[in-house]
Each structure stands twice: as structure tokens, then as C-alpha cells.
């Protein structure tokens, strides 16, 4: 049964009074994800914006057990927590790791890959705000092409990041784990139902949530949701779901309004026609790839769960 907004509880598992910026996309994602997951969870957060705004010791916004160690350890720490829970006979407890895109795509990638390859029984959530926002906007592997950050500034020779966004969901699909999905804070029903499906699945589950960042991206703080919608419309972010090897596209992008999306944000303000055309071409290629990949996996993996 599909979850509706009215099915979510009123009580906060991620308390109010946290110190995220006004209009924070990550805070929006995380408090709702926690509501779907319920109280029988253990949260692990590595160094990230979340680890700061969910309260610095001894303050804490979580009302459930919360664990924090170092940056690169998310995959390893949640593996250990999950196994300890199994050993104690607490099979009803879900272990959830929530990391930023830097802690996922760059610093935590090897531990994440290891945990996925061992198919540990955990949920890994990456909130993707496309740079290291906690330390003041440095480029990460997840930063899109053209974006200006403090380490990819706009100058005479280079204008913003020259490389393209690392596709971590695709890397996770290549690990043949039971569930990989991408979601966005701007699509509530899609998001909460993906979290519900992740919760009901056994084994390693990976969810990457698109979470706009007001100071890092440079936009009006009330536009977080609108920006998320535009990103999906123009193809800068795809809503995908890969269950047991079968990839499904949840929402077909219109592949237009890229310029509207870019011009809303300070980090893309410098982009000229040539750079925009380059970016447009890259996302169109990606979209063609995903369409073909979805068709192929639907044919290859149809029917059988064991075939992964």
C-alpha cells in the first residue's frame, strides 16, 4: 500500500530546535525520512552538515539512539552496528547511516563499497547537496559541472568545476544490492514511499536524496522546493529506483528549462551559452543511458530475485 502524507506520525523523531539554516533541504529530507522509519532505528552520522545541525555534544536533535564517529567510516560503522544488533537478537532494529555527498562520493566511498559488497543489512542514506557545505562550500565528487565553489572559483582560465558529477547511484547499482533509489525533497510521496520500500527490504539499501542548500547554491531561502522540482524537470536530477537489478524510471524528465534552473542559483550565475550547451549535452547523454539501461535490466532481470 502506498504511503500518504496523512499516514506519517505527528511526533518528531528528529526534534525541532536544530540549527540548520532557514530553508535547509537536508533538514527537510531527514526529519521526514525519520518519521517513515519509525522509532526502532539506530542513526549513524559521520562528519557533515547534519552532524553539526543535529546538535553538537551534549546537545542532540535525535530522540532515537544516535552515533557519530569519523568521516570515512559510515559503511564500516553501520555494518558493525547492524551485526551487533543481530547478535543481541534485536532483529527489529534498523541501522541507518546518513551521510552527505562528500562523505559518500569521496571520503566514505571505500567503506560504503565494502558494506554494499558484503550486502550488510543496513540502510544508507546520502543527502546530496552537491558540495562540502559544512566546511564552507568546497567541491565534492558530487558537484555538478560548471558549479562555482570555493575550490572551483570563477576566474579567467576556469569558470567553476570542469569535471562532471560522479554518479554514485550507478556505482551502487553496479554492486548488485537489493535496493538503490534516488529521491528529492520536492517529491514528498515519491520520497516517503521509497523510504518505506527500503525499510521493508532486507540487505543493503542505498537512497540518495536531492537536498538543495541555501547558502551553498546561493538562492532565495523559500525556493528550496521549487528548485528541487526544476532539477527533476530539466534532467539535472533523475528519480530512479533499482530493485533486485531491475531499474525503473519513476518520473520522465522534460529535459527543458535548464537555463531557468541554473539562473536561479548564484553558483551557476557565470555560465555562458557554451557551458550551458555542454552541460545540456551531458545530461541528455546520461538520460539516454538510463533509458537504455532500464530497458536492458528489465529484460535481463525480469521475474527472478535470485538472479542479481
Amino acid at each position: 500500500m502506498r504511503l500518504k502524507l496523512k499516514d506519517l506520525p505527528e511526533e518528531n523523531i528528529f526534534s525541532s530546535g536544530h540549527t540548520a539554516c532557514a530553508g535547509c533541504g537536508a533538514a527537510m529530507a531527514i526529519r521526514n525520512i525519520a518519521k517513515v522509519l519509525g522509532k526502532e532505528i539506530i542513526i549513524y552520522v559521520p562528519a557533515s552538515c547534519l552532524s553539526v545541525f543535529n546538535g553538537l555534544f551534549p546537545s542532540c536533535a535525535w530522540t532515537v539512539p544516535y552515533h557519530h564517529t569519523v568521516f570515512e567510516n559510515t559503511g564500516a560503522a553501520i555494518s558493525g552496528l547492524s551485526r551487533a544488533m543481530k547478535r543481541k537478537g534485536l532483529d527489529n532494529v534498523t541501522v541507518v547511516g546518513i551521510a552527505g555527498d562528500g562523505g559518500t562520493a569521496d571520503i566514505g566511498l571505500q567503506a560504503l563499497s565494502g558494506a554494499a559488497e558484503r550486502n550488510e543489512d543496513v540502510i544508507y542514506i546520502c543527502y546530496d547537496n552537491e558540495a562540502y557545505m559544512n566546511t564552507g562550500v568546497q567541491r565534492s565528487g558530487s558537484t555538478p559541472h560548471g558549479a562555482s565553489t570555493t575550490t572551483t572559483p570563477v576566474g579567467k582560465l576556469m569558470k567553476g568545476k570542469q569535471d562532471f558529477k560522479k554518479d554514485v547511484p550507478l556505482i551502487m547499482m553496479a554492486h548488485s544490492v537489493p535496493y538503490v533509489a534516488t529521491a528529492s525533497v520536492s517529491f514528498p510521496l515519491d520520497l516517503i514511499n521509497k523510504v518505506k520500500k527500503a525499510k521493508e527490504t532486507k540487505g543493503f539499501r542505498y537512497l540518495q536524496v536531492y537536498a538543495p542548500c541555501v547558502p551553498g547554491w546561493g538562492y532565495e531561502q523559500s525556493k528550496t522546493v521549487e528548485l528541487g522540482k526544476l532539477a527533476v524537470e530539466c534532467g539535472m536530477w533523475f528519480l530512479l529506483e533499482c530493485e533486485n537489478g531491475q531499474l525503473k524510471i519513476n518520473r520522465e524528465p522534460k529535459m527543458k528549462n535548464l537555463e531557468t534552473y541554473l539562473k536561479m542559483q548564484g553558483r551557476f550565475r557565470h555560465m555562458d551559452e557554451k557551458q550551458i550547451a555542454e552541460l545540456q549535452e551531458s545530461i541528455e547523454r546520461k538520460w539516454e543511458f538510463y533509458k537504455g539501461y532500464a530497458d536492458l535490466t528489465q529484460r535481463l532481470y525480469s521475474g527472478s530475485e535470485a538472479s542479481v
Partner: protein, 323 residues
């Protein structure tokens, strides 16, 4: 040497203003420095930046504890933080507060002939700080909203600073803003900030404020290493230092951050719950009896997302009023 503390909230541009002020002083052939207070503060949280201006070389590199001037970018901060702290012992000030005990005192350390430049709609004689000091007041939020469209009051307050203290001329402030803001934000934005500074200069009122306002010292939990539980694992608990452990952020009044607050029209509300979902701070509550929503103003940071996502325009954002 004149030492200046800029109190603001993350996002109001205290750091940029400190740099522009230093740059303005350099345009007058003085020596100057500007630096921020480093911390994990996010947008909206109280932050501070520092600036020094002198006729000769500046050798001190430390934080400022006894400022000659304070600039307060946010209208509510002077009620939460003792801005005049440390200004005692100077001409033009009377009374005194215990030093070193209160972090949250904007008046902390204000020096001889010092002055506080405040963003408030009130005239100077209606302002009350911990010390009786010279103040310059200007309704910078209104000016910033008029000229920039958002409440970044930093440039406007630099204009007010020039008027109140006459340490630097408004012409140099304009040059400083063009120099620092222009490089970071582009010339168009810098020009609008120059306009805000000019308006700030024109509309500033200078006078004396009343003193004696008390700021309760906050007790901080500073456990000995032996008092810490293994792995720093703590349970949810109420102590004399406030709440500790899981769920303890509920004591943070993040509502003091906002410039606008949402008003819900119960008649128009269709109870779609989109605002309830999209509120990053969990301020929107569902009221099933009325088939409408309520707002918890204790936490609301005034981001305006609820108003933006409402499909029937039942939520309007209203400017916060001082008082």
C-alpha cells in the same frame, strides 16, 4: 587603535562588512585588519566578526574583548546578547557589568568614547543596553529590504557606523564596499549595497541609550574527563545546565532568527499537508479538528517555504515587528 566587533547572524554578512570597513580605512591611508570568529555556526545563529583600524602598524592578532565600537546587524540580538560588555571604563559610559562571565552581551567591553551602532526602528533614547553608551540607531532591515530585496543589513550598518563614529568617511565606506563586495558579489550588487550604505548614513539617529539591562549568565556543562561516560554516550536528561542528550535541541529558540513569520488563513486551508511536510524545522502542526495547520513560532526560522508551497495561497509571510 580602534577595535570594532560586528555582531550579526549567519547570512547577514558580518564578515564581509568587517572586510569592507577595513578596506575603507585603508583607502584613508590607515592600517586595518578584519577577521571572523571561527565556529560551526549556521545561517541565523549569532556570529561575530572583528575589525581593527589604526594610524600605525597593528601587531595584535587576538580576538577583541574590549571594543571601542560595536555594530549590531540584527534587531533582536541586542536583547539577547550583551553588546555593550567591556565598554565600561570609558568616557561616555557609566556603570559596569562583571567581565568575562557573560558571552552573550553585545555591550561587552565597549571602550572610552565608544559607541554602539544598532539596527533598530527605535530612537536611541528608547534603547536599553547593559551600559549607558552612545548609540546610533537605524532601521537597517527596512532599508535592506528596500534596496536589496532581502535582509542583509551589513552595508547599511556601515553607513550608520560612519555617521555615528566619524572614524571613516561615508565616501571611504562606499569605496570599501565597491572593493570588497564588488569582488565577491559583482559590481551590480555592490552598487546596490553602496545605495543601502548611503541611506543608512542619512537615516541614522545618534544619542545616548539607557543602561542597566541584565543578561543572565548561562551555565555551561563542562564536565571533567572522569565525569564523561564511556564513549561520551549520554542519555536524555534535565540538569541545571538545561537539557542534555537525545531530544535536547527542543530548548533552542530558533524563532529569534526570523525576519518574516507565516500567518495561516484557516478558511482557505485545504489541509493538503504540503507545508507540514516541507517545513525543515517541524514548526507546522496538523489540526485535524479544524482541518487546518498551526505554526509553532518558538522554532519558526521564517524561511517562507510553507507560503511558497501552499497551492491555495493560504499562508502569507508578514514582517516581524519589534516590541
Amino acid at each position: 587603535m580602534k577595535e570594532i566587533i560586528l555582531h550579526g547572524r549567519g547570512g547577514q554578512g558580518a564578515v564581509l562588512a568587517a572586510q569592507a570597513l577595513a578596506s575603507a580605512a585603508v583607502f584613508e591611508d590607515k592600517y586595518a585588519m578584519a577577521f571572523p570568529h571561527f565556529g560551526a555556526e549556521r545561517r541565523g545563529a549569532p556570529v561575530a566578526a572583528f575589525a581593527r583600524i589604526a594610524e600605525g602598524r597593528i601587531l595584535t592578532k587576538a580576538h577583541i574583548y574590549k571594543p571601542d565600537y560595536v555594530i549590531v546587524l540584527d534587531p533582536w540580538l541586542a536583547g539577547l546578547v550583551d553588546v555593550a560588555k567591556g565598554m565600561e571604563g570609558h568616557e561616555g559610559t557609566s556603570g559596569g557589568v562583571p567581565m568575562g562571565s557573560v558571552k552573550t552581551d553585545i555591550c561587552q567591553g565597549l571602550n572610552k568614547k565608544g559607541a554602539a551602532v544598532l539596527n533598530t526602528a527605535r530612537p536611541p533614547d528608547e534603547v536599553r543596553l547593559s551600559l549607558e553608551v552612545c548609540v546610533g540607531t537605524v532601521d537597517a532591515t527596512t532599508i535592506a529590504l528596500e534596496t536589496l530585496g532581502h535582509p542583509a543589513t551589513n552595508s547599511c550598518m556601515l553607513g550608520a557606523f560612519a555617521k555615528t563614529t566619524e572614524e571613516v568617511s561615508i565616501g571611504s565606506i562606499e569605496k570599501g564596499i565597491m572593493d570588497v563586495f564588488g569582488e565577491r558579489l559583482g559590481e551590480g550588487i555592490a552598487e546596490r549595497n553602496v545605495k543601502a550604505a548611503k541611506l543608512g548614513f542619512e537615516r541614522t539617529e545618534v544619542g545616548m541609550c539607557s543602561g542597566g539591562r541584565e543578561f543572565p549568565a548561562q551555565k555551561k556543562w563542562l564536565p571533567d574527563v572522569d565525569e564523561l561516560p564511556p564513549g561520551c554516550a549520554i542519555r536524555s536528561q534535565d540538569t541545571e545546565y538545561g537539557k542534555l542528550g537525545p531530544g535536547s535541541t527542543v530548548q533552542n529558540e530558533t524563532g529569534s532568527w526570523r525576519t518574516f513569520h507565516p500567518i495561516v488563513d484557516d478558511e482557505k486551508c485545504t489541509y493538503c499537508m504540503l507545508c507540514w511536510f516541507h517545513c525543515p524545522d517541524g514548526c507546522i502542526g496538523r489540526v485535524p479538528d479544524k482541518e487546518s495547520v498551526s505554526v509553532d513560532y518558538f522554532y519558526c526560522k521564517g524561511c517562507g517555504i510553507c507560503s511558497e508551497v501552499c497551492p491555495v495561497d493560504a499562508i502569507t509571510m508578514v514582517r516581524e515587528v519589534e516590541g
